[in-house]
Protein backbone atom coordinates (compact mmCIF):
# COMPACT_ATOMS: atom_id res chain seq x y z
CA UNK A 1 0.00 0.00 0.00
CA UNK A 2 2.81 2.34 0.94
CA UNK A 3 4.49 1.44 -2.28
CA UNK A 4 1.35 2.33 -4.19
CA UNK A 5 1.01 5.69 -2.46
CA UNK A 6 4.63 6.45 -3.19
CA UNK A 7 3.90 5.57 -6.78
CA UNK A 8 0.90 7.84 -6.82
CA UNK A 9 3.02 10.66 -5.43
CA UNK A 10 5.50 10.24 -8.22
CA UNK A 11 2.77 10.33 -10.85
CA UNK A 12 1.14 13.31 -9.16
CA UNK A 13 4.42 15.16 -9.34
CA UNK A 14 4.77 14.20 -12.96
CA UNK A 15 1.21 15.36 -13.69
CA UNK A 16 1.88 18.61 -11.94
CA UNK A 17 4.88 19.12 -14.12
CA UNK A 18 2.72 18.34 -17.14
CA UNK A 19 0.00 20.67 -15.90
CA UNK A 20 2.50 23.48 -15.58
CA UNK A 21 3.63 22.66 -19.06
CA UNK A 22 0.12 22.82 -20.54
CA UNK A 23 -1.02 25.62 -18.28
CA UNK A 24 -4.21 24.21 -16.72
CA UNK A 25 -7.33 23.66 -18.80
CA UNK A 26 -6.37 24.21 -22.44
CA UNK A 27 -10.02 25.04 -23.18
CA UNK A 28 -9.67 28.29 -21.23
CA UNK A 29 -6.55 29.43 -23.03
CA UNK A 30 -8.19 32.26 -24.91
CA UNK A 31 -5.09 32.91 -26.98
CA UNK A 32 -5.91 29.78 -28.97
CA UNK A 33 -9.49 30.89 -29.75
CA UNK A 34 -8.88 32.91 -32.93
CA UNK A 35 -6.94 30.08 -34.54
CA UNK A 36 -9.54 27.45 -33.53
CA UNK A 37 -12.44 29.53 -34.77
CA UNK A 38 -10.65 30.47 -37.98
CA UNK A 39 -9.88 26.88 -38.96
CA UNK A 40 -13.30 25.72 -37.78
CA UNK A 41 -14.90 28.25 -40.11
CA UNK A 42 -12.78 26.98 -43.01
CA UNK A 43 -13.49 23.30 -42.28
CA UNK A 44 -17.19 23.92 -41.67
CA UNK A 45 -17.44 26.15 -44.75
CA UNK A 46 -15.85 23.54 -47.02
CA UNK A 47 -18.13 20.86 -45.63
CA UNK A 48 -21.23 23.05 -46.01
CA UNK A 49 -20.44 23.84 -49.64
CA UNK A 50 -19.58 20.23 -50.48
CA UNK A 51 -22.73 18.91 -48.82
CA UNK A 52 -25.22 21.51 -50.02
CA UNK A 53 -23.86 21.73 -53.60
CA UNK A 54 -22.91 18.15 -54.33
CA UNK A 55 -23.65 15.45 -51.81
CA UNK A 56 -27.11 16.34 -50.48
CA UNK A 57 -28.57 16.78 -53.99
CA UNK A 58 -26.93 13.52 -55.02
CA UNK A 59 -28.24 11.41 -52.14
CA UNK A 60 -31.58 13.21 -52.15
CA UNK A 61 -31.84 12.66 -55.91
CA UNK A 62 -31.31 8.93 -55.58
CA UNK A 63 -33.90 8.75 -52.80
CA UNK A 64 -36.34 10.82 -54.85
CA UNK A 65 -35.77 8.66 -57.90
CA UNK A 66 -36.37 5.53 -55.85
CA UNK A 67 -39.56 6.94 -54.35
CA UNK A 68 -40.80 7.87 -57.84
CA UNK A 69 -39.89 4.46 -59.19
CA UNK A 70 -41.71 2.70 -56.36
CA UNK A 71 -44.74 4.95 -56.82
CA UNK A 72 -44.66 4.27 -60.58
CA UNK A 73 -44.39 0.54 -60.01
CA UNK A 74 -47.31 0.68 -57.60
CA UNK A 75 -49.31 2.63 -60.19
CA UNK A 76 -48.54 0.05 -62.86
CA UNK A 77 -49.47 -2.72 -60.46
CA UNK A 78 -52.75 -0.98 -59.61
CA UNK A 79 -53.50 -0.51 -63.32
CA UNK A 80 -52.73 -4.16 -63.99
CA UNK A 81 -55.01 -5.17 -61.15
CA UNK A 82 -57.83 -3.11 -62.63
CA UNK A 83 -57.22 -4.76 -66.02
CA UNK A 84 -57.19 -8.18 -64.43
CA UNK A 85 -60.43 -7.43 -62.59
CA UNK A 86 -62.03 -6.27 -65.82
CA UNK A 87 -60.83 -9.41 -67.58
CA UNK A 88 -62.27 -11.52 -64.81
CA UNK A 89 -65.63 -9.74 -65.06
CA UNK A 90 -65.63 -10.18 -68.86
CA UNK A 91 -64.73 -13.83 -68.49
CA UNK A 92 -67.52 -14.41 -65.99
CA UNK A 93 -69.97 -12.57 -68.23
CA UNK A 94 -69.04 -14.63 -71.29
CA UNK A 95 -69.24 -17.77 -69.20
CA UNK A 96 -72.73 -16.81 -68.05
CA UNK A 97 -73.75 -15.93 -71.64
CA UNK A 98 -72.46 -19.23 -72.90
CA UNK A 99 -74.34 -21.07 -70.18
CA UNK A 100 -77.53 -19.18 -71.03
CA UNK A 101 -77.07 -19.88 -74.73
CA UNK A 102 -76.43 -23.55 -74.03
CA UNK A 103 -79.59 -23.61 -71.94
CA UNK A 104 -81.63 -22.08 -74.78
CA UNK A 105 -80.19 -24.50 -77.32
CA UNK A 106 -80.91 -27.42 -75.04
CA UNK A 107 -84.47 -26.25 -74.51
CA UNK A 108 -84.98 -25.81 -78.25
CA UNK A 109 -83.62 -29.25 -78.96
CA UNK A 110 -85.79 -30.73 -76.28
CA UNK A 111 -88.88 -29.06 -77.75
CA UNK A 112 -88.01 -30.19 -81.25
CA UNK A 113 -87.43 -33.75 -80.15
CA UNK A 114 -90.63 -33.71 -78.10
CA UNK A 115 -92.51 -32.43 -81.12
CA UNK A 116 -91.00 -35.09 -83.38
CA UNK A 117 -91.88 -37.76 -80.86
CA UNK A 118 -95.44 -36.43 -80.68
CA UNK A 119 -95.83 -36.42 -84.48
CA UNK A 120 -94.36 -39.88 -84.73
CA UNK A 121 -96.70 -41.15 -82.02
CA UNK A 122 -99.63 -39.52 -83.80
CA UNK A 123 -98.63 -41.06 -87.11
CA UNK A 124 -98.18 -44.43 -85.52
CA UNK A 125 -101.56 -44.06 -83.80
CA UNK A 126 -103.20 -43.26 -87.10
CA UNK A 127 -101.55 -46.22 -88.76
CA UNK A 128 -102.58 -48.50 -85.93
CA UNK A 129 -106.13 -47.16 -86.09
CA UNK A 130 -106.19 -47.84 -89.80
CA UNK A 131 -104.93 -51.38 -89.28
CA UNK A 132 -107.46 -51.90 -86.49
CA UNK A 133 -110.27 -50.55 -88.68
CA UNK A 134 -109.37 -52.80 -91.60
CA UNK A 135 -109.04 -55.74 -89.24
CA UNK A 136 -112.44 -54.98 -87.80
CA UNK A 137 -113.88 -54.73 -91.29
CA UNK A 138 -112.37 -58.06 -92.21
CA UNK A 139 -113.71 -59.62 -89.02
CA UNK A 140 -117.24 -58.32 -89.62
CA UNK A 141 -117.03 -59.45 -93.23
CA UNK A 142 -115.98 -62.90 -92.06
CA UNK A 143 -118.79 -62.84 -89.52
CA UNK A 144 -121.31 -61.88 -92.24
CA UNK A 145 -120.00 -64.56 -94.41
CA UNK A 146 -120.14 -67.08 -91.60
CA UNK A 147 -123.71 -66.02 -90.79
CA UNK A 148 -124.83 -66.22 -94.38
CA UNK A 149 -123.25 -69.65 -94.59
CA UNK A 150 -125.22 -70.65 -91.48
CA UNK A 151 -128.42 -69.36 -93.17
CA UNK A 152 -127.66 -71.25 -96.38
CA UNK A 153 -126.90 -74.36 -94.32
CA UNK A 154 -130.13 -73.96 -92.37
CA UNK A 155 -132.00 -73.34 -95.62
CA UNK A 156 -130.66 -76.53 -97.14
CA UNK A 157 -131.31 -78.46 -93.96
CA UNK A 158 -134.94 -77.16 -93.81
CA UNK A 159 -135.48 -77.99 -97.54
CA UNK A 160 -134.19 -81.50 -97.03
CA UNK A 161 -136.28 -81.98 -93.89
CA UNK A 162 -139.46 -80.72 -95.63
CA UNK A 163 -138.77 -82.85 -98.68
CA UNK A 164 -138.28 -85.91 -96.48
CA UNK A 165 -141.30 -85.20 -94.33
CA UNK A 166 -143.80 -83.97 -96.88
CA UNK A 167 -142.32 -84.83 -100.22
CA UNK A 168 -142.87 -81.30 -101.52
CA UNK A 169 -139.99 -79.51 -102.95
CA UNK A 170 -139.90 -75.97 -101.86
CA UNK A 171 -137.69 -73.39 -103.51
CA UNK A 172 -134.86 -71.95 -101.50
CA UNK A 173 -136.37 -68.52 -101.81
CA UNK A 174 -139.58 -69.55 -100.13
CA UNK A 175 -137.80 -71.22 -97.31
CA UNK A 176 -135.67 -68.17 -96.75
CA UNK A 177 -138.80 -66.00 -96.76
CA UNK A 178 -140.45 -68.28 -94.25
CA UNK A 179 -137.36 -68.43 -92.04
CA UNK A 180 -136.95 -64.71 -92.11
CA UNK A 181 -140.58 -64.22 -91.09
CA UNK A 182 -140.15 -66.75 -88.27
CA UNK A 183 -136.90 -65.06 -87.23
CA UNK A 184 -138.74 -61.75 -87.37
CA UNK A 185 -141.41 -63.10 -84.95
CA UNK A 186 -138.82 -64.23 -82.51
Amino acid sequence: MLLFLEDLNVTAEQSLAKAEFTGGMPQLDFASYPSQIFWLAIAFGILYVALSRLLIPRIGGVLEERRDRIADDLDVAARMKIDADAALVAYEKSLKDAAARAHVIAAENRNKINMEIATEIEAQDLKLAEIAASAEAEISQAQQKALSNVATLANTAVKEMITKLTGTKLSATDITKAMTSVAGKN
Binding site: K18, A19, A31, S35, F38, W39, A43, L47, I59, V62
Partner: protein, 249 residues
Protein backbone atom coordinates in the same frame (compact mmCIF):
# COMPACT_ATOMS: atom_id res chain seq x y z
CA UNK B 1 -0.13 11.87 -16.95
CA UNK B 2 -2.47 14.82 -16.71
CA UNK B 3 -5.90 13.86 -18.09
CA UNK B 4 -6.14 17.37 -19.53
CA UNK B 5 -2.95 17.03 -21.54
CA UNK B 6 -4.88 15.45 -24.40
CA UNK B 7 -6.77 18.71 -24.93
CA UNK B 8 -3.62 20.73 -25.45
CA UNK B 9 -3.55 22.85 -28.59
CA UNK B 10 -0.28 22.40 -30.40
CA UNK B 11 0.95 24.88 -32.95
CA UNK B 12 2.07 22.97 -36.00
CA UNK B 13 2.67 25.94 -38.27
CA UNK B 14 2.91 29.59 -37.31
CA UNK B 15 0.42 31.79 -39.18
CA UNK B 16 -0.59 35.35 -38.32
CA UNK B 17 -3.18 37.53 -40.02
CA UNK B 18 -4.23 41.10 -39.05
CA UNK B 19 -2.45 40.67 -35.74
CA UNK B 20 -4.34 37.48 -34.87
CA UNK B 21 -2.59 34.23 -34.19
CA UNK B 22 -4.28 31.91 -36.70
CA UNK B 23 -1.60 29.21 -36.53
CA UNK B 24 -2.32 25.81 -38.03
CA UNK B 25 -2.78 23.59 -34.98
CA UNK B 26 -3.74 20.02 -34.19
CA UNK B 27 -7.30 21.35 -33.75
CA UNK B 28 -7.24 22.79 -37.28
CA UNK B 29 -5.86 19.53 -38.63
CA UNK B 30 -8.57 17.39 -37.03
CA UNK B 31 -11.31 19.82 -38.02
CA UNK B 32 -10.19 19.57 -41.65
CA UNK B 33 -9.75 15.81 -41.27
CA UNK B 34 -13.35 15.54 -40.04
CA UNK B 35 -14.56 17.52 -43.04
CA UNK B 36 -12.52 15.33 -45.35
CA UNK B 37 -13.78 12.18 -43.63
CA UNK B 38 -17.41 13.17 -44.16
CA UNK B 39 -16.86 14.21 -47.76
CA UNK B 40 -14.87 11.09 -48.69
CA UNK B 41 -17.36 8.82 -46.95
CA UNK B 42 -20.36 10.38 -48.66
CA UNK B 43 -18.68 10.64 -52.07
CA UNK B 44 -17.73 6.97 -51.97
CA UNK B 45 -21.01 5.85 -50.41
CA UNK B 46 -23.29 7.77 -52.75
CA UNK B 47 -21.11 7.25 -55.81
CA UNK B 48 -22.93 4.32 -57.33
CA UNK B 49 -26.45 5.83 -57.13
CA UNK B 50 -28.03 2.40 -57.36
CA UNK B 51 -31.76 1.77 -57.24
CA UNK B 52 -31.15 -1.01 -54.71
CA UNK B 53 -28.48 0.39 -52.38
CA UNK B 54 -25.41 -1.49 -51.15
CA UNK B 55 -24.20 -1.28 -47.57
CA UNK B 56 -22.22 1.95 -47.93
CA UNK B 57 -24.94 3.65 -49.97
CA UNK B 58 -27.52 2.56 -47.42
CA UNK B 59 -25.46 4.10 -44.62
CA UNK B 60 -25.28 7.44 -46.42
CA UNK B 61 -29.00 7.29 -47.14
CA UNK B 62 -29.82 6.39 -43.55
CA UNK B 63 -27.76 9.38 -42.38
CA UNK B 64 -29.61 11.59 -44.86
CA UNK B 65 -33.02 10.28 -43.80
CA UNK B 66 -32.08 10.54 -40.12
CA UNK B 67 -31.27 14.25 -40.40
CA UNK B 68 -34.22 14.81 -42.75
CA UNK B 69 -36.50 13.29 -40.13
CA UNK B 70 -35.12 15.61 -37.43
CA UNK B 71 -35.75 18.63 -39.67
CA UNK B 72 -39.23 17.51 -40.75
CA UNK B 73 -40.40 16.52 -37.27
CA UNK B 74 -39.29 19.78 -35.62
CA UNK B 75 -39.81 22.42 -38.33
CA UNK B 76 -42.00 20.79 -40.94
CA UNK B 77 -41.66 21.62 -44.62
CA UNK B 78 -41.05 25.31 -43.83
CA UNK B 79 -37.67 24.47 -42.30
CA UNK B 80 -36.43 22.44 -45.27
CA UNK B 81 -34.19 25.28 -46.47
CA UNK B 82 -32.10 24.74 -43.33
CA UNK B 83 -31.62 21.05 -44.11
CA UNK B 84 -28.10 21.49 -45.58
CA UNK B 85 -27.08 23.50 -42.50
CA UNK B 86 -28.45 20.90 -40.07
CA UNK B 87 -26.92 18.09 -42.07
CA UNK B 88 -23.53 19.87 -42.03
CA UNK B 89 -23.72 20.50 -38.29
CA UNK B 90 -24.72 16.90 -37.56
CA UNK B 91 -22.11 15.37 -39.87
CA UNK B 92 -19.32 17.67 -38.71
CA UNK B 93 -19.95 17.23 -34.99
CA UNK B 94 -20.38 13.48 -35.41
CA UNK B 95 -17.14 13.18 -37.41
CA UNK B 96 -15.21 15.28 -34.87
CA UNK B 97 -16.60 13.24 -31.97
CA UNK B 98 -15.90 9.88 -33.59
CA UNK B 99 -12.45 10.85 -34.85
CA UNK B 100 -11.63 11.87 -31.27
CA UNK B 101 -12.33 8.31 -30.15
CA UNK B 102 -9.07 7.11 -31.73
CA UNK B 103 -6.27 6.97 -29.14
CA UNK B 104 -3.90 9.95 -29.40
CA UNK B 105 -6.31 11.77 -31.73
CA UNK B 106 -7.39 15.29 -30.84
CA UNK B 107 -11.10 15.90 -30.21
CA UNK B 108 -12.06 19.17 -31.89
CA UNK B 109 -15.44 19.34 -30.16
CA UNK B 110 -13.89 19.08 -26.69
CA UNK B 111 -12.97 22.76 -26.94
CA UNK B 112 -15.30 25.51 -25.86
CA UNK B 113 -14.00 27.79 -28.62
CA UNK B 114 -15.28 25.38 -31.28
CA UNK B 115 -18.64 24.53 -29.72
CA UNK B 116 -19.26 28.17 -28.82
CA UNK B 117 -18.44 29.24 -32.37
CA UNK B 118 -20.93 26.67 -33.71
CA UNK B 119 -23.65 27.67 -31.27
CA UNK B 120 -23.07 31.38 -31.91
CA UNK B 121 -23.39 30.69 -35.63
CA UNK B 122 -26.77 29.06 -34.96
CA UNK B 123 -27.74 31.96 -32.70
CA UNK B 124 -26.66 34.45 -35.37
CA UNK B 125 -28.74 32.64 -38.00
CA UNK B 126 -31.79 32.58 -35.73
CA UNK B 127 -31.54 36.31 -34.98
CA UNK B 128 -30.46 37.35 -38.48
CA UNK B 129 -33.03 35.27 -40.37
CA UNK B 130 -35.71 36.15 -37.82
CA UNK B 131 -35.13 39.88 -38.26
CA UNK B 132 -34.95 39.63 -42.07
CA UNK B 133 -38.09 37.52 -42.34
CA UNK B 134 -40.28 39.03 -39.65
CA UNK B 135 -38.74 42.47 -39.09
CA UNK B 136 -39.95 43.91 -35.83
CA UNK B 137 -42.33 40.94 -35.50
CA UNK B 138 -39.31 38.91 -34.51
CA UNK B 139 -39.50 40.45 -31.04
CA UNK B 140 -42.93 38.89 -30.53
CA UNK B 141 -40.85 35.85 -29.64
CA UNK B 142 -40.35 37.40 -26.22
CA UNK B 143 -43.99 38.30 -25.68
CA UNK B 144 -46.14 35.26 -26.39
CA UNK B 145 -49.50 35.95 -28.01
CA UNK B 146 -52.50 36.09 -25.69
CA UNK B 147 -50.44 37.26 -22.75
CA UNK B 148 -51.99 40.14 -20.73
CA UNK B 149 -49.92 43.30 -21.03
CA UNK B 150 -49.31 43.59 -17.28
CA UNK B 151 -47.42 40.28 -17.44
CA UNK B 152 -44.91 41.69 -19.97
CA UNK B 153 -42.45 43.10 -17.39
CA UNK B 154 -42.25 39.65 -15.86
CA UNK B 155 -42.28 37.44 -18.94
CA UNK B 156 -40.12 39.44 -21.34
CA UNK B 157 -36.97 39.31 -19.15
CA UNK B 158 -37.52 35.59 -18.56
CA UNK B 159 -37.95 34.89 -22.28
CA UNK B 160 -34.95 37.08 -23.06
CA UNK B 161 -32.71 35.28 -20.60
CA UNK B 162 -33.88 31.87 -21.83
CA UNK B 163 -33.29 32.99 -25.44
CA UNK B 164 -29.79 34.31 -24.70
CA UNK B 165 -28.78 31.30 -22.64
CA UNK B 166 -29.58 28.92 -25.49
CA UNK B 167 -26.26 29.30 -27.37
CA UNK B 168 -24.35 28.97 -24.11
CA UNK B 169 -26.15 25.81 -23.03
CA UNK B 170 -25.80 24.43 -26.56
CA UNK B 171 -22.04 25.08 -26.56
CA UNK B 172 -21.35 23.96 -23.00
CA UNK B 173 -23.38 20.75 -23.36
CA UNK B 174 -21.29 19.48 -26.26
CA UNK B 175 -17.94 20.71 -24.97
CA UNK B 176 -18.49 19.44 -21.41
CA UNK B 177 -19.70 16.03 -22.58
CA UNK B 178 -16.74 15.48 -24.87
CA UNK B 179 -14.18 16.79 -22.42
CA UNK B 180 -15.54 14.94 -19.40
CA UNK B 181 -15.76 11.68 -21.33
CA UNK B 182 -12.25 11.86 -22.66
CA UNK B 183 -10.85 12.94 -19.29
CA UNK B 184 -12.67 10.03 -17.64
CA UNK B 185 -11.23 7.53 -20.10
CA UNK B 186 -7.77 8.96 -19.44
CA UNK B 187 -8.22 8.76 -15.67
CA UNK B 188 -9.32 5.13 -15.78
CA UNK B 189 -6.49 4.28 -18.16
CA UNK B 190 -4.03 5.95 -15.78
CA UNK B 191 -5.39 3.84 -12.93
CA UNK B 192 -4.79 0.69 -14.94
CA UNK B 193 -1.19 1.68 -15.60
CA UNK B 194 -0.55 2.87 -12.04
CA UNK B 195 -2.04 -0.17 -10.31
CA UNK B 196 -0.54 -2.55 -12.84
CA UNK B 197 2.94 -1.16 -12.38
CA UNK B 198 2.55 -1.18 -8.58
CA UNK B 199 2.67 -4.99 -8.68
CA UNK B 200 1.29 -7.54 -6.24
CA UNK B 201 -2.37 -7.53 -5.27
CA UNK B 202 -2.90 -4.05 -6.73
CA UNK B 203 -1.80 -5.28 -10.12
CA UNK B 204 -4.46 -7.99 -9.94
CA UNK B 205 -7.08 -5.36 -9.05
CA UNK B 206 -6.06 -3.31 -12.09
CA UNK B 207 -8.64 -5.39 -13.93
CA UNK B 208 -11.37 -3.28 -12.29
CA UNK B 209 -10.50 0.11 -13.89
CA UNK B 210 -9.73 -1.79 -17.10
CA UNK B 211 -13.25 -3.22 -17.24
CA UNK B 212 -14.67 0.14 -16.18
CA UNK B 213 -12.78 1.83 -18.99
CA UNK B 214 -14.05 -0.66 -21.54
CA UNK B 215 -17.57 0.20 -20.48
CA UNK B 216 -16.81 3.93 -20.58
CA UNK B 217 -15.42 3.63 -24.11
CA UNK B 218 -18.68 2.01 -25.21
CA UNK B 219 -20.59 4.78 -23.51
CA UNK B 220 -18.39 7.39 -25.19
CA UNK B 221 -19.29 6.07 -28.63
CA UNK B 222 -22.92 6.45 -27.71
CA UNK B 223 -22.31 9.97 -26.41
CA UNK B 224 -20.35 10.88 -29.55
CA UNK B 225 -23.43 10.06 -31.62
CA UNK B 226 -25.96 11.35 -29.09
CA UNK B 227 -24.35 14.77 -28.72
CA UNK B 228 -24.22 15.25 -32.48
CA UNK B 229 -27.91 14.35 -32.61
CA UNK B 230 -28.76 16.65 -29.70
CA UNK B 231 -26.85 19.56 -31.21
CA UNK B 232 -28.66 19.13 -34.54
CA UNK B 233 -32.03 18.66 -32.85
CA UNK B 234 -31.71 21.72 -30.62
CA UNK B 235 -30.56 23.79 -33.58
CA UNK B 236 -33.77 22.74 -35.35
CA UNK B 237 -35.87 23.61 -32.32
CA UNK B 238 -34.31 27.07 -32.08
CA UNK B 239 -34.76 27.65 -35.80
CA UNK B 240 -38.36 26.47 -35.55
CA UNK B 241 -39.20 29.73 -33.72
CA UNK B 242 -38.48 31.82 -36.80
CA UNK B 243 -39.24 29.65 -39.85
CA UNK B 244 -43.01 29.91 -39.57
CA UNK B 245 -45.17 32.81 -40.68
CA UNK B 246 -46.25 33.75 -37.21
CA UNK B 247 -43.63 34.15 -34.55
CA UNK B 248 -44.55 33.26 -31.00
CA UNK B 249 -46.24 30.38 -29.27
Amino acid sequence: MDPLYQFKIERWAEFRLFGYDLSFTNSAFYALASTLLVIVFLVVASGKREMVPGRMQLMSEMMYEFVAEIVRSTMGQAGWKFFPLIFTIFAFVLACNLLGMFPYFFTVTSHLAVTLALSMMVFGIVVGYGLVKHGFGFFKLFAPAGLPVWMYPLIIPIELVSFLSRPISLAVRLFANMMAGHALMKVFASFVVMMGSAGGLLAAFAIIPLLANSAVIGLEFLIAFLQAYVFALLTCIYLNDIVHEHVGH
